[in-house]
């Protein structure tokens, strides 16, 4: 009798804890796990878009089709190229952070921290609108500045000429993300214990040596973190390039700005072929998954949980 009551109390306790979790668990099953499994399934099927007829199992045909498709391969190339070009924001952020850190804590430091972070706050769409004009071929700010510096008339269509579009897209991207990079770099710089520098000073290490032998190694994990996050964000880049292309996923100009995600969008919503889109989505998933796994391993995420 007593045992049963104790059991009841125990079960009740379990249920109370589960009542905290149940909504999130159900949400994740219905909105994440099931759709993800469906993506895996669709990638092996010829999916009938309009609901006529049965979906047909086609094995790896979708993958074969997509891997032989030159515009998909190009979109993978574009995605990685743009992601790697976007890494410029890391050294830029580091240099800014070093300078800001150098002036010491105080009013100026908070002013610069906030000032340089500000572009990050501007809405994604606004940034594109602004840079479509800043990077314009005729009368754009950048070309004006370049003309002034070189003494020659410069009229590069940074966002409309397919030779330069990736540079234009990178300028726009780095402008938006360097504030974030600066912030993370600065926080990391400030967490280096001052004693290390003091000890180095006693040993007679000068500024450059301190920077090279203390600062850079201490910042390694911060750089790695920024590298991974910026690659992962780069893999899923979509909105700004989609808007630059005039709200279309073809990656204008000349397909140079079509990322994997834009390719998936094209075959999901513009000319629906869900099988192809799902195969593309699976490739995007695998790429992101591998990079995230590397990231978690590096940051010691798995170790922490064992404790």
């Amino acid at each position: 009798m007593k045992n049963r009551q104790a059991l009841k109390v125990k079960i009740k306790k379990q249920l109370v804890w589960y009542s905290f979790l149940v909504v999130s668990i159900v949400t994740l099953i219905v909105l994440t796990y099931i759709p993800m499994l469906t993506t895996i399934k669709y990638s092996f099927f010829d999916v009938q878009v309009l609901g006529f007829g049965e979906d047909r199992f086609v094995g790896f045909q979708n993958y074969q089709k997509i891997m032989n498709n030159s515009s998909f391969l190009k979109s993978i190339g574009n995605t990685f190229l743009l992601a790697f070009m976007g890494l410029v924001s890391i050294p830029v952020g580091f240099i800014l952070a070093s300078l800001i850190n150098n002036i010491g804590r105080g009013k100026w430091q908070s002013f610069f921290r906030v000032g340089y972070y500000f572009p990050n706050i501007i809405t994604g769409v606004s940034v594109v609108l602004i840079f479509q004009i800043v990077l314009k071929a005729n009368g754009g700010l950048l070309n004006n500045a370049l003309s002034l510096l070189t003494g020659r008339e410069v009229a590069i269509g940074w966002l409309s000429d397919s030779h330069y579009s990736r540079f234009g897209a990178t300028i726009l991207g780095v402008w938006g993300s360097m504030g974030y990079s600066m912030l993370i770099n600065l926080a990391s710089l400030q967490s280096i214990p001052a004693e290390i520098y003091e000890a180095a000073e006693v040993d007679g290490a000068n500024g450059f040596k301190q920077w090279w032998y203390i600062t850079i190694p201490q910042m390694a994990s911060c750089f790695a973190f920024l590298f991974i996050t910026s690659i992962i964000n780069g893999l899923a880049r979509f909105s700004d390039l989609f808007i630059i292309g005039g709200n279309a996923s073809a990656g204008r100009p000349g397909g140079t700005l079509q990322t994997i995600l834009m390719y998936i969008y094209q075959f999901s919503f513009e000319s629906p072929q869900y099988g192809i889109a799902s195969a593309g989505a699976m490739i995007l998933f695998v790429l992101t998954f591998v990079i995230t796994l590397v990231n978690l391993k590096m940051t010691g995420f798995f170790k922490k949980k064992d404790v």
Binding site: S24, V114, T288
Partner: protein, 275 residues
């Protein structure tokens, strides 16, 4: 000492110059938005409008339902943030202090989601909502908020740091877990709530792809998509009105940033390091 001071001054000047270059596009955008001359041709760069007027804003407000977009976006952002933070705290509390069967399993179950990018399950998700007849409503934008995985992870870390003694004394007084959650955990988690809310507002205001996919009717659209559609229609010309729209859509977050700059900068820095 003197050399150090001079060096500091030089660095400040250099930083000011770079900052000016970085912010010039924004300044020019604001100037153009007030310039009557910037309609069909792009005027020369200047620090003040060539011909001051609010014409561009009038054009912007009459060509697209900006106020409508605004209200829609505010509604979605607020509801999404409240749902996401509330459920994240609930799960965070259970994972931090609870003792129940399957705790580790469910924790990994939730964190694994971080490795599934939203984009790779977008199509089936879209078809699911389609079959439920929920396309062109705000349900697809809001339902996902009930499982804010990063927030759960972050809440667990923070709630773990709250001493158990508080909970135990409440226990002795006969309080249930839910009461402890509402009366002890939530009041003690204000900084945590602030950080998560800020991160939520920032990401929601800028969300683009998903609203573009699920919302069809233009009067339901959010500001980011609404503005980009307007932009695509006005390809090439209409510089002033386009800049006016850019300013309008950037204003809410900018104002929020000016008031909460310290907290926002901190939230972003903290979330980055602990991630």
């Amino acid at each position: 000492m003197r050399a150090k001071k001079i060096r500091r001054c030089i660095i400040i000047v250099v930083l000011l110059l770079i900052l000016a270059i970085v912010l010039v596009p924004l300044l020019w955008c604001i100037v153009l938005s007030f310039d009557r001359k910037a309609v069909s041709a792009l005027p020369e760069f200047s620090l003040i409008p060539h011909e001051f007027s609010i014409f561009n804003y009038q054009v912007a407000f009459t060509t697209i339902p900006l106020v409508r977009y605004y209200l829609n976006t505010i509604f979605v952002t607020v509801v999404h943030t409240v749902l996401a933070v509330f459920f994240a705290l609930m799960c965070g509390y259970a994972f931090a202090k609870g003792r129940f069967i399957g705790k580790n399993f469910w924790f990994v179950f939730m964190l694994a989601v971080m490795m599934i990018p939203f984009e790779s399950r977008m199509v089936p998700l879209y078809l699911q909502y389609k079959s439920w007849g929920l396309l062109d409503t705000y349900a697809p934008l809001l339902m996902g908020a009930c499982a804010y995985v990063y927030g759960i992870f972050f809440s667990r870390q923070n709630i773990e740091a709250i001493p158990d003694s508080l909970r135990e004394s409440a226990y002795i007084d006969g309080a249930s877990e839910w009461r402890i959650f509402f009366q002890i955990i939530i009041p003690l988690s204000k900084p945590l709530i602030a950080t998560l809310s800020i991160l939520q507002v920032l990401s929601n205001w800028n969300s683009y792809l998903w609203p573009l996919v699920v919302l069809r009717s233009s009067e339901k659209q959010l500001i980011s998509v609404g503005v980009s559609v307007f932009n695509a229609q006005q390809d090439a010309i209409y510089y002033g009105p386009r800049m006016a729209v850019a300013v309008i859509s950037a204003i809410p977050l900018s104002i929020m940033f000016l008031f909460l700059q310290k907290y926002i900068v901190q939230s972003v820095a903290v979330s980055g390091i602990k991630q």
